[in-house]
Symmetry: C2
Subunit: 410 residues, 2 copies
């Protein structure tokens, strides 16, 4: 058993928000506040940027009830960032901060880029011989992290997408006239979210065609696919990933490729509008492009309770594992369904495995005609969207956590 | 008291769907099926188009449990249309259908255009001396019908908009970098829905600026307004109506003005994307345009229970009023809050008053700087969004009504 390590803990949130990233925050913060080994709990203002700028919040100053409301508060309550660690200079600064605040536990909540950040910090601390246990807490609606069965954040986004597609289906099929509807869903290189639109079949309101980034986009085939559906139904409901790209790697949405985020990724979007214009031109049919945009990653009102519970578990487990001596790992979920029911347990994988890699939909879960996902895909996603969340409301509107965010001093 | 009139009833749905139009359908159908005076209950396939094409469904053939699920099924379960009555030829055909099926009760659920259709039918029946009681049931997310305090459908859309804006606010304010977000909300000439975004203030997550179609749009002022907010916050969250137009009456969104619906109204949308591009150009700041599109009118999962109850009441009242001898009227809501609490009761106004007219936000409910709504506006909307709906789910996904839609025969 590892030696007991006394010191402060710091927690940060990074990358695009999800509906449940704050549930992980609550898992980390609550568990750390309650742990006798942990002397102080700090929150980074805007992730690692807060570490670099000496902007930490003292989490012990927060009201316990408000902290609990984090379970149903979307987005990143401490603020997020898209900052790429800039070599040893940044790492040195982070080390200095750890020394200054006697930080011995470092928890970082994010996706692949954030796990890379986390891994670099872990390696640096080891190199300079500063004892600090560094743990990654997974988070991404994209569900593309390697090493884990699924990611906190995905289930809630999937539930929002399946529900919204089912509802839009009711609307898109309502008129006696022809109508084509294109719904654009997030996911740069992995189609998990777009595939989740297939779950609308359980409401008898599925999309007719699904276009994933795993399949090279072919405009001619796309138009022929639509034509075939439209001939039969005078309607067609299409879901497509914002990351849909041609065989040569260029995005279907050219419009926004010029803008990039901090990691050099293109800012996508506009695919639905662009394709809707093309379809109207081709078929002369009223076509509507709908982009789910930010809504799909912050719709906490429709968060899956399973996802909330697991997000909390991920945060809590990271703290417990670090206190027990673990470091340099990301919390991972293992699906265990031997009795035919869904169970999820926690394991820990090296950060180096999780950093920067992307998990895509397996080929065998995409139908042969490449315009749908299989029943196996649906069976994989379905347990993750279960359960209505028990959100707090005031005036029938969401009551989010109100944090004081009091600056930590030493 | 009017003479008892025995005969069949017909019900149709028209115009853009809402989350609760089917709750009104259930109010009409259930009440009519239970009424001894009414011999048959028919549903029009795609509104008045079904009357013209002799496509009616026999509602008595439907399962009672499935009919009840209409309370939480969005969009128009019988199908909708955007068909403008084409003079006496159509009216003659509708009269023939009434004679054929012995229809003595005619219920039509829609907005201003549909009330016009209803009024023409009512007048024609009187002219040709055919006794048929014609009633309009109000429906529109736009809340722009004259003669009623508010419209079924508005409360649910308002709740979805306020909740979504609050959630997007959490996301839009998350990064340490500058960000401007423009959310486009439905409403051609009346800004009720866009104004409802202000209710996000009750979640401490309000939009910073609100642009209504009631106020002529001025691009220079718009950019100056944003600049003032951005200087203080490095963020700006804007809500704007799809119908925003310049002082000369031209729409801010030129892109889609060329496409028109069946009534000659321009199909709007694209305003957010267009303004986001302009803002990026002007300020060089990452700007995201989000169009709530169809989502806001079909998000039954977030429907207001108050709205569902009132939509049902509107349908039920129409039938009871007609059985009692009433005709040529639209069901209207009167707000009665003498005891300081919200109450809603039903009255009936002549169709001629409700047809084609549009009710806009009163000037005194718009702030002096023309970029917000007043507390009076918020107090008006708040009671209408109250109550979580008790929706039926399967697999944590919506369970919509499954109608058999069996063709009526005579």
């Amino acid at each position: 058993m590892a030696e007991k390590l006394r010191g402060a803990a710091v927690f940060g949130q990074s990358g695009g928000p999800t509906s449940v990233i704050n549930a992980s925050a609550y898992g980390v913060i609550r568990t750390a506040l309650d742990a006798p080994e942990i002397t102080n709990v700090y929150g980074m203002a805007h992730g690692i940027v807060g570490m670099l700028n000496d902007e930490l919040y003292d989490m012990s100053k927060e009201d316990a009830g408000e902290l609990e409301l984090l379970l149903n508060t979307p987005s990143s309550a401490l603020g997020s960032c898209r900052y790429k660690i800039n070599g040893d200079e940044d790492l040195k600064k982070i080390h200095e901060m750890c020394v200054k605040y006697n930080i011995r536990y470092f928890f970082y909540n994010g996706g692949n880029d954030s796990m890379d950040t986390c891994n670099k910090i872990s390696n640096y601390m080891e190199k300079v011989g500063y004892e600090c246990r560094v743990m990654g807490v997974p988070k991404t609606i994209d569900n593309d992290l390697v090493g884990t069965d699924h990611c906190p954040g995905f289930g809630s986004a999937a539930k929002y997408i399946a529900t919204s597609v089912a509802e839009v289906h009711q609307d898109a099929y309502v008129y006696d006239t022809g109508a084509i509807t294109v719904m654009e869903i997030m996911g740069r290189n992995a189609g998990w979210l777009t595939g989740a639109s297939a779950l609308a079949c359980l409401s008898d309101s599925p999309p007719d065609l699904i276009y994933l980034p795993e399949v090279p986009f072919d405009m001619d085939k796309f138009l022929r696919d639509i034509e075939a559906v439209y001939k039969k139904k005078k309607k067609c409901l299409i879901t497509i990933s914002e990351g849909a790209q041609y065989a040569d790697g260029s995005f279907v949405s050219h419009a926004k490729v010029s803008t990039t985020d901090g990691f050099g990724h293109a800012q996508l979007g506009g695919t639905a509008a662009q394709l809707a214009a093309r379809i109207t031109k081709e078929f002369g049919v009223k076509t509507r492009g709908i982009e789910l945009s930010l809504l799909q990653r912050c719709a906490a009102h429709l968060a899956s309770q399973t996802d909330i519970d697991e997000a909390f578990l991920a945060g809590k487990s990271a703290v417990e594992y670090a206190i027990a001596g673990g470091t340099g790992k990301m919390v991972c979920f293992i699906r265990d369904s031997k009795d035919g029911k869904y169970h999820c347990r926690v394991e820990y994988e090296p950060l180096s495995i999780c950093a920067n890699a992307e998990k895509k939909i397996p080929k065998e879960w995409i139908t042969k005609d490449e315009t749908y996902v299989t029943q196996e895909f649906i069976d994989y996603v379905l347990p993750l969207i279960q359960g209505d969340n028990k959100r707090t409301q005031e005036n029938s509107l969401p009551r989010f956590a109100k944090l004081k965010k009091i600056k930590a001093t030493i």
